[in-house]
Symmetry: C2
Subunit: 351 residues, 2 copies
């Protein structure tokens, strides 16, 4: 199980040859993005507009570097899709989607400074191209802008949800810093960090889409549950793919987390079952960061040997199932089905 689905595949729609993983990967995101294309375009215009700064040209420069590299925009798509499936006809969902993307982008900028990353979305990271100072300050600017955008909606419930998510996100970043690279980090602690760092913003993104569209309290609660579970499944999958994914499909060099000494679920599970000699390996490579040739291969082998990868995948599947369950409480709608497929996809690529 060193790679999933790397056989070649021809996309029937445009004849492009790619790995099956790339094709499957493109599909649910692509369909959702297509269904939301007008909304995404409106959001992009808003993002373009709010990244501008008459005085500080460095801001749009750095922000554009990240935004144009184009992550999958999963978070803002949740907001847009949810607002639409509740029949929303206004424009505040564009502001909220842009808010969510700004918060996410600001976090990426600061994360890269903290992790001393060299790559982001397959490009050199901003802290490498400019410097840490610029990444810190432009991140602050995007963060402040995101608050201005959400305030413009004039919805206090929305402001409550998003400002809480931002606080949980920031707290979890600090928590991760303390826990980072310590093999003592329990699976429970790890889940709590992952939930705060990733799932909280997914949950908020889904919730505010519902709130702005006038969803009932029970539905908003279901949206929160959906976003939370989807976010956890998404992140566990991402952490697995970092070890076992196909670089062409993920756009990331495998073993990145290992090199950056990130303690993710596969490693935590492998450590829990490690022999004394294996524990020494993890202490050297993760805790002390002394890595040499062949270490990544050995890490992969250990993660596989103890069934850590299989167990992590199992957990991702469970959270995905929980997310799909929460979707059942939403109105029957084509977009709900697409969210269902997306939820399935983020883990199906692991099978």
């Amino acid at each position: 199980m060193n790679k999933w689905q790397t056989q070649l595949f021809v996309d029937p729609s445009d004849g492009r040859v790619m790995s099956l993983d790339t094709y499957v990967s493109a599909k649910p995101y692509h369909l959702l993005a297509e269904a939301l294309q007008d909304d995404l375009a409106a959001m992009d215009r808003l993002i373009q507009e709010r990244m501008q700064s008459r005085n500080a040209p460095l801001i749009p420069e750095i922000a554009a570097h990240l935004v144009e590299a184009g992550g999958k925009r999963v978070r803002p798509m949740l907001t847009l899709a949810v607002a639409r499936l509740f029949g929303y006809r206004g424009e505040d969902h564009h502001r909220l989607a842009a808010t969510v993307e700004f918060i996410h982008t600001a976090t990426l900028l600061h994360d890269d400074v903290v992790d001393e990353s060299r790559q982001r979305r397959g490009r050199p990271s901003a802290n490498l191209l400019w410097d840490n100072k610029s990444s810190v300050l432009v991140g602050d600017y995007l963060f402040a802008r995101s608050f201005q955008l959400m305030v413009e909606t004039g919805s206090l419930p929305v402001l409550g949800v998003l400002s809480q998510a931002a606080a949980i996100l920031a707290e979890s970043e600090v928590l991760q810093l303390s826990a980072a690279a310590s093999l003592k980090t329990s699976e429970e602690m790890h889940l709590s960090i992952l939930r705060g760092k990733t799932a909280a913003l997914f949950a908020a993104a889904a919730e505010v889409g519902g709130i702005v569209a006038g969803a009932s309290e029970r539905q908003v609660e279901a949206l929160r549950e959906f976003g939370d579970a989807f976010g956890i499944a998404f992140q566990i999958a991402d952490d697995l793919l970092d070890y076992f994914g196909d670089a062409d499909a993920t756009g990331k060099e495998p073993g990145n987390d290992f090199r950056e000494r990130k303690l993710t679920l596969p490693v935590i599970k492998a450590v829990a079952n490690a022999s004394a000699e294996e524990r020494a390996f993890w202490q050297r490579t993760i805790e002390r960061g002394e890595q040499k040739d062949g270490d990544l291969e050995r890490a992969l082998e250990l993660i596989d040997r103890h069934g850590a990868a299989a167990a992590a995948r199992e957990q991702a599947l469970e959270w995905s199932a929980r997310a799909k369950g929460a979707l059942e409480l939403l109105p029957d709608h084509e977009l709900r089905d697409m969210l269902h497929d997306l939820t399935e996809y983020v883990v199906v690529r692991l099978v």
Copy 2:
């Protein structure tokens, strides 16, 4: 004009011996803090409470390091004083004062990372005691918390004012980064950065105190004008004191800005009148940062020679006068008189 008012003085209230500057310095802040002591205590409790983090003990640790070092809390005092002088009887002004202090503290944490500072408020800076990573992430946390606090007031006008101030502040930080250490920075550009970095938060602090207390539109406008002018006067004075102040009184080593190659008003004015040889001095020390023994003394001499210090002081006095003028539009109240004295004081210490 190398030092102002360093003669010794005995405080009649407690017999403490100090420089006159320290005594005068303590006075208007002290009187205002005394008049607002219940409000400040309530704000401090709120700050204590919101700095806590069950999961990440690093947060209260770092935040307490800064908050307990205790700046003069000028910004939150503006909010509290203004709310009170409009007869406010609720509790939202505590939330807003804490919000303003959190935004300010978050900015200090990030500033110290960007400036690679070693001291803050007479103590080693957080980035030195912990590390840059912690300063970045704890700053983010305080920033996020500040938004949560302001959302709790449920006042959309307040949210509009504060989120805009935060965006202007962040934009000016980026702008300063681009302008930093370039002798090409014009006085006009410098004023615009100073206004954004310092005065915007002073203005917002005063404004939201009025808004929450139901001040009229015209009064809120006057509060904005007061805070803006007060902030500019305050910052120009601070920049002058960095060169000519008494370390005992200011709590800062003189020449800090020079060593950190900060282009402040006294230097900009000296550069504008510099001979070719003097220009070469500023290029070497500020632009290229090549400094040696005796350079600070030479800088002081040049700033003095061209009347740059006197001209900067003149400007500070003008802004202070403008701030006092704006206060005239507020209700007659003991606290208004105290704000008047404080406005006078921040520049009187320069005379």
